[in-house]
Symmetry: C2
Subunit: 395 residues, 2 copies
């Protein structure tokens, strides 16, 4: 495909983390910068968003930071949630409820029992046409042969069971990373959708092995799994769509160092075994998450063109997700449409600078703070320093 310009109907990101405080101030405006006009915001804050009131207040804070972006809220699935709260949330525009692995398996190896305790919630969600967003992984359990590589596959039985029990409940399997997950969603009915992140369309396990910038959960898997994700996007399957799972982490957490964390053992030897994990490994891990909000639509265009799916860009970043969620109002979609221009990656320095992913984003208040200060609010984006094949035409 050799088009020089593409018009994309109002892109929507159906899975994004916008944080709180200074980090939220830095990244929330990036949603629009990345070409997205509708952001479906995850509730895993501290504390998590478990009530309509919290959700309403949080969305207000986001709108104050980016008035032109449409923010849609979610609740964190927890025992505190009640059918009455679900009904209230629905009336107040909260669109979905997110289930995290932790919630799946409290006091349980399989998690099934725990999902059953949530059936009254799902019943009310189905009635209110709310979306159930599933982080589709079971917790690792070496004794049971479960690790980060098969945690998603092991979860799929839960997806099938909930779907059978609530065939009219709209469910989204979030950030699928495996062929088995893609096949499972395809097998389900029209009420089951699936988000695919751009970074999982690009990475395999080799790309995050020893490379914190690309480390995220679920982890990128085998080449064949990546192929399955690319194929279903190229196929334009209507129930697979963009959810970036863009997750900003301060650079100091992404690249822990002797300076910001102390040599791993130093902590341990200083405070005894408290710093030791069950396996006995010293805690000095890199935060899991890839940040793509600020470059999202140009990145998606570049990646899809790379595997011959540029003609499905609008389906992936806008049409499929909006239709599944019911945000396909014609006027809204046309108002948010954007135009992309192919970047001349020859030596034209102007277009180069425009399409080169920034090395790092720093909150204005922290510009003068040295990098060695772990509290510095700065985020390194995915593909930092690399050139994108497409850029947004700003009017």
């Amino acid at each position: 495909m050799s088009a020089q310009e593409i018009t994309v109907p109002a892109p929507a990101d159906f899975h994004v983390h916008l944080r709180q405080g200074k980090m939220s101030e830095l990244v929330t405006p990036h949603v629009a910068e990345g070409g997205v006009s509708l952001a479906y915001v995850m509730p895993n804050l501290v504390p998590p968003i478990t009530s309509t009131q919290q959700a309403t207040e949080y969305l207000e804070s986001l709108r104050a930071l980016a008035p032109k972006t449409k923010f849609v809220g979610t609740l964190y699935l927890s025992p505190a949630l009640t059918p009455a709260e679900i009904a209230k949330a629905a009336k107040n525009g909260v669109r979905g409820v997110k289930s995290y692995p932790r919630g799946v398996t409290t006091n349980s190896d399989s998690g099934i029992e725990d999902y059953e305790t949530y059936y009254p919630i799902f019943e009310e969600m189905q009635k209110q046409d709310m979306i159930l967003n599933l982080h589709g992984e079971v917790p690792s359990n070496a004794d049971a042969g479960i690790c980060v590589l098969n945690a998603e596959e092991k979860f799929l039985t839960h997806l099938f069971k909930i779907h059978r029990q609530f065939p009219k409940l709209k469910i989204v399997l979030e950030h699928a990373t495996t062929r088995k997950a893609v096949e499972a969603v395809k097998q389900c009915g029209d009420t089951v959708g699936c988000t695919i992140t751009p970074h999982h369309l690009e990475l395999i396990v080799d790309d995050w092995a020893g490379k914190p910038l690309n480390f995220c959960k679920p982890v990128a898997k085998y080449p064949d799994d990546r192929q399955a994700l690319r194929d279903v996007v190229r196929e334009g399957h209507p129930r697979f769509f963009l959810g970036s799972d863009s997750a900003p982490h301060p650079l100091a957490n992404k690249y822990p160092s002797a300076v910001t964390h102390g040599a791993p053992g130093t902590k341990a030897s200083a405070s005894g075994s408290d710093d030791l994990e069950p396996t006995g490994v010293v805690s000095c891990g890199c935060a899991a998450g890839v940040y793509t909000s600020s470059i999202l639509v140009p990145l998606c265009a570049t990646l899809l063109e790379g595997f011959g799916a540029l003609d499905k860009l609008s389906n992936y970043v806008s049409i499929n997700g909006r239709k599944f969620y019911g945000y396909d109002d014609e006027e809204e979609v046309s108002q948010g449409s954007i135009k992309l221009r192919r970047v001349d990656n020859g030596s034209s320095s102007s277009s180069t600078s425009a399409a080169t992913v920034p090395a790092v984003y720093v909150h204005p208040e922290f510009r003068e703070v040295p990098d060695s200060d772990g509290s510095k609010v700065q985020v390194v984006p995915f593909w930092a320093g690399k050139r994108l094949g497409w850029e947004i035409v700003r009017s």
Copy 2:
């Protein structure tokens, strides 16, 4: 097993990296500190050791640093090597030749052709009773479905083919990490052995995901793979033995940070795409390698006891490897024998301090150098800050 003391016949480490320069000064004496009296030293220096003369000079430099340790040398398999040089090396006590993936597959997807070009070398090695040490991984190749998770399995056909071609050539499959590799070695004849590292007896993929301290090549795999390694050690199979693959890296390379590396993207944006890898990922990776030399035998005892194989400790760390390599001279073995004492991991601070793995080892000349200086020669060991269950009784 509730023994309070164990005597272990002269432990031998049949796969260790002792580096050069200041790093070698720091780690070479650690071999004896870890309880090991014979160190089979890898040749991947800069430049690699490809001649008898280089090997001889290198071993001399190591003996100067640790006169009581027996160092055995190897050559790096490369096109420069000749049958004549093999004969010369054998006469001068060089015991083996190490093949690295790079050497396996130059200008080749499968590597088979390249091994055949080395058949004259293998022929002479067989005649000289030299050992062929194989790093058993083929290079990752996403298009062919090969990644770090199946690179070892894909290599096994090469092991079988070389063994068929040279049934009398002693071959060691190094640092096995998978059940398939263990089964492959078992299927081979008595001339094929296999080293297993202590860290692969402990780690699975979850333990290095986002944790640079535990990241090494080959990467730790699934729980079932770890089980296979533990089982073959517990079985006391005579052709499986200790090769630590202890590989020291400066902390700054193990935990890259904004300070020592600059924000990843900064490098890229400063120097264009030179810092970008084929996948487009910014180069800011963590060095692959786990450092265990300084705590080796106590670590092995602690781990083996953890999975019920303490009674096979001598087979794993001494008897099996020495017999396979022919270093089982009774006098040498008895002279190097050591005694281990169980550590009271109650509150006895004395034994605690003795058995707590140091947070970091720093070369004396760098004690005053700040951690933020990337050139600082300091190494964080495996299990830093954690307590070992056994300690060496020093006489």
